[in-house]
């Protein structure tokens, strides 16, 4: 175990794939630029774990057709992650990022997927986003929860919440909207996570303050480090380059902001991770939330009520709409007059 080391959030500028013909060139440019700006953090400051934003390779374009979304997807592992793997291997570091992914054995669906490439140069962890905006109609992706039975039959339940044990702590991932769901970071903690790497995509808007609070809560509730990397700028035909709020942040295991980038723009955030202190805190009785949570009780309670169901089929806006209507019928939500 390395007791203390540097972690870097790479607040990368992202070029969007607007035209399918440019797919490979855009991905190559995004990867090259991202790794270039990470280089000094790795070589000069000896960062051992680095995190990139969500959609770093491909960018968001809301006008993409369903077919185009399929076609911009990469495979994980695949040639793109191999390129990142060369960098990881050369510098003997861990590189985390998230991308839109197709599964060669399952052509009907695609996922928003987090991955960690390790010093071996290989993909050592693959996490598929549970809470995607597909259920709000913003993206035609699929979540493992949407196809839960088929997914767990194929990959096993343990594939849902992966944790990677490394000399730099036990690494796990959440992607963007996932952070809003406390159950996920709690369950990752149950699986041993100490540092959650959080590629994100957050725009300026009324909920920025709530997101900042929620990030801190996730770290505090679980005694985890939470490293959120957001895009610095997003250049595309339909995107306002600085719509992204930037604000990449590392929260420590006490829920305090360890370091943060104020606002948008291409940037790099270096933060010292004190793994030994985190582990010491976890051995203390006083207010030890992950140990004191009455999980047996909540296991029972959570099994009684279903908010959004599993196996809905690939999520759409109707998935949330139907859930709200059902909750209103069941009396969980009081309908507005």
């Amino acid at each position: 175990m390395v007791k203390k080391y540097q972690l870097a959030c790479i607040q990368a500028s992202i070029e969007v794939i607007d035209d399918l013909a440019d797919r490979d060139a855009v991905i190559a440019r995004n990867v090259e630029r991202g790794l270039n700006i990470a280089e000094s953090a790795v070589v000069r400051d000896e960062a051992k774990v680095i995190v990139f934003p969500e959609a770093w390779l491909q960018g968001f374009n809301h006008t993409r057709s369903t077919t185009d979304w399929q076609n911009i997807c990469i495979e994980i592992p695949g040639p793109e992650t191999a390129k990142i793997g060369e960098f990881a291997k050369q510098h003997q570091i861990y590189v985390a990022a998230a991308a839109f992914e197709r599964d060669p054995g399952w052509p009907e669906v695609w996922f928003t997927t987090g991955f960690i490439v390790g010093p071996s140069g290989d993909v050592e962890l693959r996490y598929r986003k549970i809470h995607d905006h597909n259920v709000e109609g913003l993206i035609p992706s699929t979540s493992p929860a949407d196809v839960h039975s088929a997914y767990t039959k194929r990959y096993g339940e343990e594939s849902l919440f992966p944790v990677l044990d490394t000399p730099y702590g036990r690494l796990a991932m959440m992607i963007e909207h996932d952070m809003n769901f406390f159950e996920l970071s709690r369950v990752l903690t149950f699986h041993g996570a100490e540092i959650i790497l959080h590629p994100t995509a957050e725009d300026n808007g009324p909920m920025v303050q709530a997101l900042n609070q929620a990030r801190r809560s996730r770290a505090y509730e679980n005694f985890i480090y939470l490293a959120s990397a957001n895009a610095g700028s997003i250049a595309g035909k339909y995107t306002a380059a600085q719509a992204t709020r930037g604000g990449s942040t590392v929260i420590n295991y006490l829920g305090n902001v360890e370091s943060t980038i104020e606002g948008a723009g291409e940037s790099v955030l270096l933060t010292a991770i004190d793994l030994d202190r985190l582990r010491k805190r976890r051995t203390e009785v006083f207010m030890n939330y992950p140990a004191q949570v009455k999980s047996e009780l909540f296991g029972r309670e959570f099994s009684k009520q279903t908010f959004m169901k599993l196996d809905t089929g690939s999520g759409t806006r109707e998935t949330t709409q139907d859930t709200i209507e059902r909750l209103q019928e069941e009396g969980v939500f009081a309908p507005p007059q």
């Binding site: 159950e183 709690r186 303050q209 509730e221 006083f286 004191q292 999980s295 959570f302 939500f333």
Partner: protein, 383 residues
Amino acid sequence: MIEKYTAVAVQTIIRHVREPEWREAVVRENVNRYLSLMDYVSCRWGQAKLYVLPEFSLTGVEHVRSVEEWTQIAIRIPGPELEPIANFAKHNKAYVAGGTMEFDPAYPGRWFNSAYLFGPTGELELRYRKVNGADVQGHATYSTPTGLYDLYVKNEGGENAVFPVVDTEIGRLALINCYDINFPEMPRTFAQYGAEILLHCTGEPYSPHRDSWEMSRRTRAYENSMYVISSNHGGYVAQVAGEVFTDSPGLNFQQRRSGEIAPMHRSHGGSEIVDFNGKIVGQAPNPGEALAIGSIDLKALRERRAEVRGNILAQSRTEIYAKEYARNQGTGINHWLDKPIAHKSEARQNTEAVIDRYLKDGVYAAPEGYDLEIDTEQPTALT
């Protein structure tokens, strides 16, 4: 349904029952003062529909007191001590909630850290007993419903008795106490049972955790699209009938803890009303007697919950997580079914056991040089 109304977190200075024989006088003095503060709201701000008082605000708190003495000092819900509060609710056609130490003769040898809610009929609408804290933390001897779960759910008519919610004209209300707010699972479970407005009777001291508690209530409100009303202590004194005990030589630990030489403002105050987007709509930022007054917009909350975008509550995939929680069994239930907690330090063994199991199972990784067989941690000063 009343679409929009005023709610108040009534941040009070709490007089502490140090000696059992002070009980009647101190409780009466507390209640009288709180009624005055609530009356002040109506003359200064117009009528409020909902008032929330802090945790253990009738008797104060004393962690080193024996269980037997607590069962004598703790009050009954409902009971004669709460009658003036029930009458206030009736007279003002309002809802009044608060926290108090409670004794229930159905559970001899035990006491609870509870909260109550009286409605405009003057009847008791809700009684909640704190779920998180003493039974695992080792800082007090009160019982929790989960500590005697099997007996409790049998006596109280089912598992949902642990999470009571009442449907009223001012929304669906639920109560929680203090430390409960740190567990996101608590408000989420209340949300399952329909809660829209969470009344958080709390007792938060100045500590390095202050920031985190504030963050917790705001995050709970945001992630559950619910109002959270946190009413904290404004201060703490041990006195009776105007007499302040300042004669410190020979004070024992109990007396020192109880406010005679402690700073009056050792609570940080900071009572707050947080809306369903996690934004503060009422705040008393400092200690001392104060009122956090805010507007509750029930119609807007219900409209928010009907929206698709960012509807975190509706979008929770509960089933996946239910299984994982059941599998983890972090802290169990029924720890104190056969034998109530007799001494406060007993309970910390429960957390120690889970930490040890986590270290063995690999949920936690041991820090360098940590010996699983030797527990070196010193007890920490607690509230």
